[in-house]
Every structure is written in C-alpha cells, then in structure tokens.
C-alpha cells in the first residue's frame, strides 16, 4: 500500500469529529433525518399516503423525513429492520397485520408482538371480496347457500395464510360455509375471475371494480363503507366484528417516551391535513388515528383471532 496510513486515520478522524460535534450538541430530538421503513413496495395507497404525511412531518419537525422501502419475505425483512433499529426515534416503520401479527403468530419472525411499539394505526386499505358479475349470488349469505348446495368455489388470494385470505375465511366460517379451494395469486386482480382460475378474489384496491364491469363486490374487508363503492356492505356491518387491512406507524420498543411523544404529535398533526383526508376519500381508503394503546390492543386481539384460523387452515 502506497497510501500513508496516517492519511486514512486522519480521514476517519475528520469524519468522526464531524459526528462528534453533532453528538456533543445533542439537545433536542430530532436533529438528524428520520427514516421510515416501509416493508412493502412503493406505490400502494398506504405508501403514497405515508410519503405525503412524511412531508408534513418534515415541515413540522424541521428535519428530512424519508420513506425507504425494504421489501421481501412477506414484510418480515423490513419489520425486522425496524425492530432491531437503534431505539433513538430516527428509525420508524410501517407495519401491516401480516408482518405485525400473523407472521409472528406463525413463528416466522425473530421479534415478538410487543417488540414494535405502535405510534398508531392510521389507514385501512380498500380491500373487497369480488366475484364475476354473472354469478348467481349477490351476498355472502347467498354464496354460503350456493356452496352448501354442493357447488365448488375457489378463493383467490395472495397466499393461503395471508391476512386477506384469513379474513375471507373468517367471513365464510361465520356465514357457515367453507371455500372448496384456496389458490395463491400474485398480483390479485379481477383477471383471475375471467380466466376461471378463481371464483372469488380478495381485491386489494376497490377502484379496480369501477373499471371492470365483469366483476362486482360482495363484501368489503373494512369497518367503514368504501366511499367509491357505497353499496357494498362491510365486514363489520355483516358480522359485527372489526376487520380491516390496516397500516400503522411503529417504532422500536425501547424508544424514550419523550422522543416517542414528539414523533406521535407530529404524525397526528400530519394526518389531520386536508390533502391526506382527500386522498383517502378518492382511493376509497379510510384514514383515522388509533392511539398507541388502542393499536396494541387491536394487535393482540387479532393475534388470537388469526391464530385460530391459521390452525384451522393448516390442519
């Protein structure tokens, strides 16, 4: 090596002193950019709304707030990164029931249910159970009668044990029937209805139904009616139980309370902006804010409920 060793050392020291200064001047959170890890690919409604919210948070907190997508492994990769990040409030993350609940219940994760602390659940994506328009049933009850009369019905969803599929199964169980088969689709679209691969799909975006006349919705997997499809009954209306494909903002478990409060306040303020509410309305999603405690409670409830369904489906 021709390069004198002290050169490297000097360089390292320079970098170090830069950081040394900032660390010494540590006064108030936040003073560095904040990153929000999204374990899913960019571009779905939850990702877009988080990016919009991040802009408002950034204005409010005075440091850049950036959404980073770390995808893969059913969301576990990103979720693990959030759980194992340094609990200083500079790494936050988005979670959905998959990585937050069902993967934990199935024992696929290294983190537990309480290793991620919810800032709050804030977004329900507009999932719909959709069927071909020419099917002879128009509600879950009629579908149940149809199946119980000896007809076969194939459910198309992401994976057999993915959350939308579990919810569709819980709905069926409560109606009193079971799907003949479940097939995994990726992406889930109304196309599979047309080719006859599936008879009922867990459609992730209600807007697809407005485009495709050959399909219609039976039930929305939400608590509130989807604004763009006001005629379709919700899971909560039909079965009297909460069910939604939510997204929440989380921090690592051991974030100091004062830092957590700063994040939480900025986030709630961002959610109140008109732009975000309007965006929710136009996509058919539902924007709200369920506080930390409420979110924790919902997660634990769901863990129990999904565990029952997972055990049933795998045995």
């Amino acid at each position: 090596m021709k390069l004198p060793k002290f050169g490297v050392k000097a360089a390292v020291m320079t970098v170090a002193t830069c950081f040394g200064f900032s660390a010494a001047a540590m006064a108030e959170f936040p003073e560095r950019p904040i990153q929000i890890i999204n374990p899913w690919a960019p571009g779905d409604s939850a990702d877009i709304v988080m990016r919009k919210a991040a802009e408002y948070m950034s204005e409010d907190l005075g440091v850049p707030v950036k959404v980073i997508n770390r995808t893969g492994g059913g969301g576990i990769i990103g979720a693990t990164a959030i759980a194992t990040a340094r609990p200083d409030g500079y790494t936050l993350g988005l979670l959905t029931p998959g990585p937050a609940v069902t993967q934990v219940v199935m024992g696929n994760t290294t983190y537990g249910l309480d290793d991620l602390k919810p800032v709050g659940i804030f977004w329900d994506s507009p999932f719909v159970l959709a069927v071909r328009s020419d099917e002879p049933f128009s509600s879950m009850k009629e579908l149940g009668d149809y199946v119980n009369a000896g007809n076969t019905v194939t459910l198309g969803s992401y994976a057999q044990l993915a959350v939308p599929s579990l919810l569709a199964n819980i709905a069926a169980e409560k109606t009193g029937f079971g799907y003949t088969r479940i097939i995994g689709l990726d992406p889930v679209s109304t196309l599979s209805l047309g080719t006859g691969d599936a008879d009922i799909v867990t459609l992730p975006d209600a807007r697809a139904l407005l485009q495709d006349e050959s399909a219609r919705g039976l039930l929305t997997l939400t608590n509130e009616r989807i604004s763009t499809l006001p005629d379709i009954p919700t899971f909560k209306e039909v079965y009297g139980e909460e069910a939604s494909l939510w997204t929440g903002l989380f921090t690592p478990r051991d974030v100091p309370q004062e830092v957590f409060d700063v994040v939480s306040k900025a986030f709630q303020k961002a959610l109140e902006q008109d732009e975000i509410q309007e965006y929710a309305k136009s996509t058919g999603a539902y924007a709200y804010f369920l506080d930390s405690e409420g979110s924790s409670k919902r997660i634990h409830n769901e863990a129990e409920r999904f565990k029952g369904m997972i055990d049933k489906l795998t045995n």
């Binding site: 090596m1 021709k2 390069l3 390292v12 970098v15 170090a16 950081f19 040394g20």
Partner: protein
C-alpha cells in the same frame, strides 16, 4: 484438459451430492407446519423436482467428465489461464470491502478497495491513486447523490462520536 475434466467432475459431483442431501432431508430444512394431503400442494414438491434434476444431471456430468467427453469453454476462458491466487485475494478483498463500508462509510471503503485491488492486479504507479480517487468519487456522485441510495452511517464515526 485432464485437470479441468477432473475438477469439473468434482464440482458437479459435489453440487449433486448437496442436492441429494437437501432432497432427503427436506423435512428438516423446510418448515412443514401444514399437513397438505395433495402432493402438488406440498411446499417441497417443486424444490424436490429441481433438486432431482440437479442430482441426475450432475451425476451424468461426472460420468461425462470421467469418459473425457470434450466440452467447449467460452471465449474468454479459452484465451486465459486461471490465476487462482490473485482471484482469491480479490474476492477476499471484496469481502473486506463490504464489511468495511459499515465502519468507515461508503466513500472511504471504496477508495481503499480500489487502491488495494489496483495494487494487487499490478497497477502500482501514481496512476493507482488518481484512478481510485476518480472512480470512487464518481461512484459516490452517481449512487449517493444522484440515485440517493442510503448507506449506513459509518459505525466507527458514531462510536468515536459517542465516546466524546
């Protein structure tokens, strides 16, 4: 050519052995929580098929190698002979490069990697330093500035910072 033939036999034989091991121990390396009754829905159905292809063709390749059936090398490999020492040291250097990026940051680790790699492959004049500096700066410009790729904060720097 004799040597390549036997190496080829060892390489394909080894991979086919690994494939067999994985195939017959699939219950240990695949979590079979579900008790699927249908063969085609079992999570090991497709991997086992792939492993069987590897195992069978691998053994056939070993037999071919023993029979000294001639085979073509691609153009670049025909024209040059392996220099295992330099290649191995470059690969190790690459490993250190990936580890060091966590410690001293992307820019410095790239600079160090380029200088050492150029030195190893025989560029030892002043050109080395100039080239390394230019290449590492342009890589930094493209990836960190232009494409905004996020690299971990240098671990060493934050360590020193905390001890202050």
């Amino acid at each position: 050519m004799v040597q390549i033939h036997s190496l080829r036999a060892v390489f394909t034989g080894f991979i086919s052995l690994v494939a067999c091991l994985l195939m017959f121990n699939s219950d240990k390396v695949v979590s079979l929580q579900s008790t699927e009754t249908d063969l085609y829905r079992s999570p090991v159905f497709f991997p086992t098929l792939a492993l069987a292809i590897i195992a069978v063709t691998g053994i056939a390749l070993v037999i071919q190698a023993f029979k000294k059936v001639p085979f073509m090398l691609d153009m670049d490999c025909e024209d040059s002979s392996p220099k295992l020492f330099i290649s191995a040291s470059l690969l190790f250097l690459f490993l250190f490069y990936s580890l060091s990026s966590n410690w001293i940051g992307y820019l410095f680790s790239t600079l160090l990697f380029l200088m050492t790699a150029f030195f190893l492959s025989g560029i030892r004049s002043k050109v080395n330093i100039v080239l390394s500096a230019l290449i590492s700066l342009s890589l930094y410009a493209i990836f960190v500035w232009l494409l905004d790729i996020w690299f971990p904060k240098p671990w060493l720097a934050s360590l020193l910072a905390n001890s202050n």
